[in-house]
């Protein structure tokens, strides 16, 4: 019954249609399917009405603990999303359209994505951006594969400061391609220069880093870029876009391929997705970019318009020779990213980054001053920092979780030997009161 809405044709109409086709029943239309191939089971519950469905889904969502105060990041960040983002990305002409293959009736999506590409270029300082990839991890993997294509080499040096999940994704993506991956241990929580010098060679396609890294540490990548370039390798960096409101752009540090996750730009946490991956590089590498790219052109009257361009890189034309297999991307999330950036604007975005920095610095000072607690980072940090505790971090985090505080991400699982450390994240949404409460509860958990 509930499906009546979605399959509109009435019994009479169905009869008329069958007559037009010249068959007696809908069943006949499935005659090309031999009986032997028919489904052996299809055990699903009966449908329900919209009201019952919504109650059910609400009940499900309410099985998640509400009101947990987040000091956790790990790649996804709890930022405020301006109301305009939902309202505008919620325009059904945006979210119920598909890939703009027909530009004349898709200028809305096409112009928005061109504006998105421009925003990514301006944030990162790079010359070209595509129209989005899946997420931050897959974007970094695509960046790595791009470096393999550009250099024609098959060796990668991956800094241990890169999000462990991202490193897993790179490893998974490359597992079958006979690419050598060299893990670079950290030094003082940032890229280990001497170690890099020793592993970097002329078979290396790229050095892969993250800035700020998984511990929140910021690094000046300039010398890394020089090192890499000296060996004919590229520097591929994954960045946290919000940091770019305050931190020097990857381009200014000599990065060749910049990637990152766009969740923090106006996309809800939503238990991990959807977000979007971005990738930007220099014009000379544009033909090696994966995914869709929007370009400006003119129509027959000379009016400006936008189209999918350089499609010869893509799977639907190049098939197995394509730069990537990606087809559907994360356009709507990228659109949200654009609207988010435009809503804060040049000044507001810089202020927001500063606000994240100031709040995290306040928290770092407060938490680092707790007896027995040590700030792990030597380098400056953006809105995350690592603490070493006098106790096992797992245990402390678990106990604070019971009090409604997600105090941070314990590092033991990702960095053997760091079982007493955790990474704490502070965004603009965390009030001084919440930070003070975390400090009090942490002290309590450690010493009483």
């Amino acid at each position: 019954m509930s499906t009546a809405t979605y399959c509109p044709n009435s019994p009479e109409e169905i009869r008329e249609m069958l007559a037009a086709i010249g068959v007696g029943s809908v069943g006949e239309l499935f005659s090309p399917i031999p009986e032997a191939l028919r489904a052996q089971s299809f055990e699903l519950p009966p449908g329900m009405s919209e009201f019952e469905l919504f109650q059910r889904m609400k009940g499900l969502a309410e099985q998640n603990a509400a009101g947990v105060t987040n000091f956790i990041g790990g790649g996804f960040y709890d930022h405020h999303i301006p109301a305009v983002v939902d309202h505008l990305a919620g325009r059904s002409e945006f979210y119920t359209a598909y890939t703009p293959y027909q530009p004349e009736c898709s200028q809305g999506t096409l112009q928005a994505l061109y504006e998105y590409q421009t925003a990514i270029c301006r944030l990162t300082g790079m010359e070209v951006s595509n129209a989005s990839l899946y997420d931050g991890g897959t974007a970094l993997a695509e960046g790595a594969m791009m470096a393999l294509r550009v250099t024609g080499r098959n060796r990668l040096v991956v800094d241990s400061g890169v999000n462990p999940f991202y490193r897993q994704i790179i490893a998974t993506y490359l597992a079958n391609l006979g690419v050598e991956i060299v893990d670079l241990p950290l030094h003082n929580g940032v890229t280990n220069r001497p170690a890099l010098a020793s592993v970097l060679d002329d078979r290396t396609a790229a050095v892969i880093v993250q800035n700020p890294n998984f511990f929140g540490s910021l690094d000046d990548l300039t010398d890394l870029a020089d090192e890499a370039h000296a060996k004919g390798a590229l520097l591929v960096a994954s960045v946290y876009p919000v940091s770019l409101g305050l931190v020097a752009s990857p381009a200014s540090m000599g990065v060749d391929v910049v990637t990152g996750d766009g969740q923090s730009l106006g996309n809800p946490l939503s238990f991990g997705g959807p977000s979007f991956g971005f990738i930007a590089t220099s014009k000379k590498y544009i033909r090696n970019l994966p995914g869709r790219i929007i370009g400006e052109t003119v129509d027959r009257e000379g009016t400006r318009g936008f189209v999918l361009t350089l499609q010869a890189r893509e799977q639907h034309i190049k098939r197995h020779k394509a730069t990537s297999n990606i087809c559907s991307n994360q356009s709507l999330c990228a659109l949200r990213g654009l609207i988010y950036l435009a809503s804060l604007g040049k000044e507001g975005f810089a202020e927001l980054a500063r606000l994240n920095y100031d709040k995290a610095e306040y928290a770092k000072g407060l938490l680092g001053a707790i007896k027995g607690v040590r700030v792990v980072n030597h380098a400056p940090t953006f809105n995350e920092f690592a603490l070493e505790l006098p106790k096992a971090a797992d245990q402390v985090v678990a106990s604070l979780l019971q009090k409604g505080l997600a105090a941070g991400v314990p590092l033991g699982a990702y960095y053997p030997g760091m079982e007493r450390s955790l990474v704490v994240t502070v965004t603009e949404k965390r009030t001084k009161g919440e930070i003070d409460l975390l400090a009090a509860k942490l002290e309590e958990a450690l010493w009483s």
Binding site: E43, I72, A175, L244, F271
Partner: protein, 479 residues
């Protein structure tokens, strides 16, 4: 229309960030401090709202136009599903991965487990991972699983076999996993040429990727036979689920010999296409491949609660940040829950009915290269019209002037001047009849006044664009 950057005014502010309630910290060292603020738009909230609201009005979309884009299953997405996703918006995925965090994320984990279970039953697979972020990502994940399977068995495999009718992502995905592609031609009756297939099969073939019904909208009755041949070489059968909308409750790939499948939630399971994405491409596998599934994996405990398994020695590892495109999955799970068993069966029956209705009504006016009962979509050719110098693309542009989003006209590559029409089950007979009338009008205009079609579209904010100029100038970012 002006770009948002062209509407910027120096110093104009948009949404204000919260006030700072902590002391200002010492500045970052100069070498890592950004020198000049990024030149983001400087517009008021009103400017912003007008810009994007008016931009949105320059799109055709399912909610405003009939959108029979073949192979993309542009069905209507029930609005209640849009209201379900935000219910999960506030939850951080890391919560479930924290020590003691599982109990705080039971709702999200239950949804993931419920969706995987439903998809396993729908496709006839033993287990499903929801991590892949789109169809192509699912394909790559699936091929990685197959590679892991062969590696574990010590099989030496080199090739992946695909029919020439396959979607570009199939060979592209296989290539990304390091396989070479062997392409098998399509027989005159529209299915993969069986003899050519037999000839292509060797023990070095890792997998055979098929779409069924294929991209011509035809169901291959020899699937089981093909699977047997493949399996005889210990090659695994991969099912591209992009066309699953045709066979819900009718055929389960898992029942007919497929070992791995991806489904496109944004196609079959009623989630919006977002102007190009996000989608979601869960992958289902048979028992032998379960050990290789990516991490994290949601498991149901004896006590009925849900937990997250994060490592497993045989796992291929990780293909995405966290659990996949969760918000998309919520919609799909709600869709399956709302329609239920009967509803899903009805979906395929009506989708197939609509496609055959359009096919039989348009047959007199357009070439039909493979003239037989179709499944969820039908593929015509503009061959007839080409004799008057009218290409499929001209027909497409004329449809735009009539308020219809064109069918797929660049694909499948094996049909020249292809016109691939997928009405989907959510469209009514009235809508189809109106569309058919226009398609007939176009066919007649192609004979009487081909030039009119070359001029189209005339009713849009822009006319046809110079794509060569775009590719030549590569202006992909405002200077």
């Amino acid at each position: 229309m002006e770009l948002i950057y062209e509407k910027s005014v120096r110093g104009r502010r948009g949404v204000a960030p919260p006030a700072c309630d902590v002391p200002r910290a010492a500045d970052l060292p100069g070498n890592i401090l950004r020198e000049e603020k990024a030149e983001l738009p400087e517009v008021s909230e009103l400017d912003l709202v007008r810009h994007f609201t008016n931009l949105s009005r320059r799109n055709f979309s399912v909610d405003t136009n009939f959108y029979p884009l073949g192979s993309c299953t542009m069905k209507y997405n029930a609005k209640v599903l849009e209201n379900c996703a935000p219910l999960f918006a506030p939850y951080h995925p890391m919560t479930a991965l924290l020590p003691g965090g599982g109990p705080l994320a039971q709702g999200s984990l239950a949804m993931l487990h419920g969706l995987s279970g439903a998809l396993a039953e729908i496709t006839g697979m033993d287990e499903v991972t929801c991590q892949p972020l789109a169809g192509a990502h699912g394909e790559m994940t699936g091929i990685m699983l197959i590679a892991a399977y062969h590696r574990a068995k010590g099989n030496k495999k080199k090739y992946v076999v695909v029919p020439d009718s396959s979607h570009g992502t199939n060979p592209a995905s296989a290539a990304m996993v390091g396989y070479e592609i062997v392409t098998v031609p399509t027989a005159p009756y529209g299915d993969m040429d069986l003899d050519a297939f037999r000839a292509a099969m060797t023990d070095e073939v890792a997998a055979v990727m098929m779409t069924c019904p294929n991209t011509l909208g035809l169901f291959n009755p020899h699937i089981r036979e093909i699977a047997d041949i493949a399996h005889a070489h210990d090659a695994l059968m991969y099912y591209d689920g992009a066309n699953l909308n045709a066979i819900l409750g009718k055929v389960r790939p898992g029942d007919v010999g497929f070992d791995v499948i991806h489904v496109n939630l944004h196609k079959t399971f009623g989630t919006p296409h977002g102007g190009g994405g996000p989608g979601s491409g869960p992958v289902g596998v048979k028992r032998e491949l379960v050990p290789f599934l990516p991490m994290p994996r949601v498991v149901k405990e004896a006590d009925g609660s849900f937990a997250v398994e994060t490592d497993n020695p045989l796992s291929i590892g990780r293909t995405a940040n966290f659990f996949g495109n969760f918000g998309v999955m919520v919609r799909a799970f709600a869709y399956i829950t709302m329609l239920g068993r009967e509803g899903l069966i009805q979906v395929s029956e009506q989708a197939v009915l609509n496609a055959n209705y359009v096919m039989s009504r348009l047959k007199p006016y357009y070439d039909l290269p493979y003239d037989t009962t179709c499944m969820h979509e039908c593929v015509f050719s503009a061959g007839k019209q080409l004799r008057h110098g009218v290409h499929a693309i001209d027909i497409a542009k004329f449809l735009i002037d009539r308020g219809y989003h064109p069918p797929t006209v660049y694909f499948p590559l094996i049909v020249k001047e292809a016109i691939m029409i997928e009405p989907t089950e959510t469209e009514s007979k009235e809508t189809l009849d109106a569309f058919i009338d226009v398609m007939i009008e176009v066919a007649k205009t192609a004979e009487s006044d081909p030039e009119a079609l070359h001029q189209a579209p005339l009713t849009m904010p822009i006319s046809r664009l110079d794509e060569t100029k775009a590719a030549r100038e590569q202006n992909v970012c405002l200077g």
